[in-house]
């Protein structure tokens, strides 16, 4: 029995040695072709699915924006996503010192029609991110604020009554003004 097994094993080893390189190459070519056909069918079905098409459209449309505006600045790129919301908060930053404590209105004032602002959270933390290191305070909610308000964010005409002085002349709809008149 043992002898038989040994002979059998020996035979198999000889078979392995006898496989010609051409046969191996043939096997690899057949394997490649078989894989291509099977996977081609799977991929063709998978890539045609709605959700995969959605991924492709989402990525290519974003890439189109990138190629159209390759040299856009950080502010321009963020404005593309957040629109007027970011442009306004950025202008608040540019027109106030780092130490400013700015009073903002509640969310509904931002979204009161007609408005240039688009729907967003407009909560204290949300605004704080864009005006940091300045401090944001929301109207009627001054929790945790231990410094006096230095500026008022004028939003859709709101906020002029929060200033300690009268604004004469033009009254921009959206701007930022110091709470006390500056000489």
């Amino acid at each position: 029995m043992k002898k038989k097994t040994k002979t059998h094993q020996k035979g198999r080893q000889t078979d392995k040695k006898n496989i010609k390189p051409e046969n191996k190459l043939l096997k690899i070519i057949v394997l490649n072709i078989a894989m291509l056909i099977v996977s081609g069918l799977i991929l063709n079905y998978y890539m045609g699915r709605t959700e995969i098409k959605w991924i492709h459209t989402m990525l290519t449309s974003n890439y189109k924006i990138i190629t159209q505006n390759p040299k856009a600045t950080f502010d321009e790129r963020l404005s593309m996503k957040l629109g007027f919301n970011y442009m306004y908060l950025n202008s608040v930053c540019r027109n106030t010192p780092d130490t400013a404590v700015i009073l903002f209105p509640k969310r509904d004032v931002f979204l009161k029609q007609p408005t240039n602002f688009t729907d967003a959270e407009f909560g204290r933390i949300w605004i704080s991110n864009f005006v940091y290191p300045r401090k944001a305070v929301i109207d009627e909610d001054t929790t945790g604020i231990n410094r006096p308000i230095t500026h008022v964010a004028i939003v859709n005409g709101w906020g002029y009554d929060k200033l300690n002085y009268q604004v004469s002349g033009s009254r921009p709809e959206n701007t930022v003004l110091p709470v006390n008149r500056q000489n």
Binding site: M35, E51, W54, N62, I66, R77, G144
Partner: protein, 457 residues
């Protein structure tokens, strides 16, 4: 320039740590894991600096990173023979070109195409998603600006004065500290971190599967994982979910590799990734529970509980550390409270069950991920029952999912509804299961037989 130097340092740190674990990891595997491990360790070092009241600055983070890199490189060089052997294995002569098929090349092309578009999108647009604006990205900015976590008056003011949204301060800090790191280096946006994490994930996932699968099957699994709509869309956003999915799913896959091969290097890597997973989000505990369960089953069989003890103790340590950290520095408690005692609420259980089932079947979000893995499980069930092997991956999947459902069930929702949590948070948490599900589609007993057949050719 400093940004590039800093990111290269993160990469080198991770590379040295992975090499110290073992020289036997493939070069692709090391490259894939380097950045995610390096960045994760750096965030731990930042907390250490803060604990010692040392300001978190570029210099302090760099110096500490170099120190860890020095130690791991020393450990690496100590295994001299392994090191030389690993260098030899990098030779092009050792690559078995026969295993790389035309299909592999085509899929690689598709992968590169999609990832290129995704990478570009990610780094081009700065952070704009709500969760990052009010949370992780903002915390990163604050830490970078104030050089501290627990002593930041700004962060604590936000945390104590507001309920909604403020709970981000209590999150385990990997994500926001990694953002803080790039802000410290002078980056305009933190999105570079997200872009590099997802790229590293793709490479690591392929390399991890490549340890058991032929290249074509490994890259096919990678392609299917990448082409998951909701996952790829979120991979280019600043939220924590994609980063958490990277760590947790890879931890499960490396644990599976350990169960398959019994090689220590996989076990250590699984521990490290589990630690970083829980350092990203506390919910990472469900994957630790899943891996620990398999270790427990193995330990009961062999009577050796060392692996289980080591894994559970070390894996969960960042979570325990963070809880103590919050307690010591009195950084409040979360706005949602956890009910520690068991209770029964039929309506809640039914809502979780039906909404979870709806999510798993939703092809708009996850493509065919969970349907394909369900079919794979059904097909391989006979082999699993017959051989009592290969049960690890599906068992880890279901244990993690059930444990997570239990967590969702036990939470008392004060300011948010259960429906909202299921619709948004759970939907994104399922990203962690996507790579595991696709890995199982390709490493189930039936596919492994096919893999071994191709391998023999």
């Amino acid at each position: 320039m400093l940004v590039i130097i800093g990111l290269v340092l993160s990469f080198c740190l991770g590379f040295s740590v992975i090499s110290a674990i073992s020289h036997r990891f493939s070069l692709v595997g090391k490259i894939g894991l380097s950045f995610i491990v390096g960045t994760g360790i750096q965030t731990m070092l930042m907390v250490l600096l803060d604990l010692c009241s040392i300001p978190i600055t570029v210099t302090s983070v760099f110096l500490l990173s170099f120190a860890v890199m020095f130690v791991s490189t020393y450990l690496c060089c100590k295994k001299k023979n392994d090191f030389i052997e690993s260098l030899r294995s990098l030779s092009l002569k050792n690559i078995n070109y026969r295993q790389f098929t035309v299909l592999w090349l085509i899929i690689l092309g598709i992968l590169v195409y999609f990832e290129f578009l995704n990478f570009e999108k990610c780094i081009y647009f700065p952070t704009f998603d709500r969760d990052s604006i009010v949370g992780f990205d903002f915390m990163g900015k604050i830490v970078a600006n104030e050089h501290t976590i627990r002593r930041s008056s700004y962060a604590l003011d936000l945390a104590t004065s507001l309920n909604r949204g403020a709970n981000y301060v209590y999150y385990t800090p990997l994500v926001h500290l990694s953002y803080a790191y790039v802000y410290l280096l002078g980056a305009e946006s933190s999105k570079l971190i997200n872009a590099l994490f997802y790229l590293s994930f793709i490479i690591s996932f392929y390399a991890a599967l490549r340890n058991r699968l032929v290249p074509t099957m490994a890259i096919s699994a990678t392609l299917f994982t990448v082409l998951v709509p909701e996952y790829i869309a979120f991979s280019s956003m600043s939220a924590t979910n994609a980063i958490h999915a990277t760590y947790s799913s890879l931890a499960v896959i490396y644990a599976w590799l350990y169960f398959e091969t019994n090689e220590r290097r996989y076990f250590i890597t699984a521990i490290l990734l589990s630690m970083l997973g829980i350092w990203t989000r506390q919910e990472g505990i469900v994957f630790i529970a899943a891996i620990a369960l398999i270790l427990l089953i193995k330990a009961v069989g062999t009577g050796r509980f060392k692996d289980l003890t080591v894994y559970f103790t070390v894996g969960i340590s960042p979570f325990i550390f963070w809880l103590i950290y919050l307690k010591i520095f009195d950084i409040g408690s979360q706005s949602e409270s956890m009910n520690l005692l068991p209770f029964w609420d039929t309506v809640k259980a039914k809502t979780i069950y039906s909404m979870l089932l709806g999510l798993l079947k939703n092809t708009t979000f996850y493509g065919l991920t969970f349907i394909a893995s369900g079919i794979a499980l059904l097909i391989s069930l006979y082999f699993i029952v017959k051989s009592k092997k290969s049960y690890e991956m599906p068992l880890m999947f279901f244990t993690a999912l059930l444990t997570f459902c239990l967590l969702v069930y036990q939470v008392e929702y004060n300011w948010d509804s259960l429906e909202n949590v299921m619709q948004y948070s759970v939907k994104r948490f399922l990203f962690c299961f996507v790579p595991i599900a696709w890995a199982f589609v390709f490493v189930n007993p039936v596919m492994l037989k096919l893999n071994d057949y191709i391998n023999k050719l």
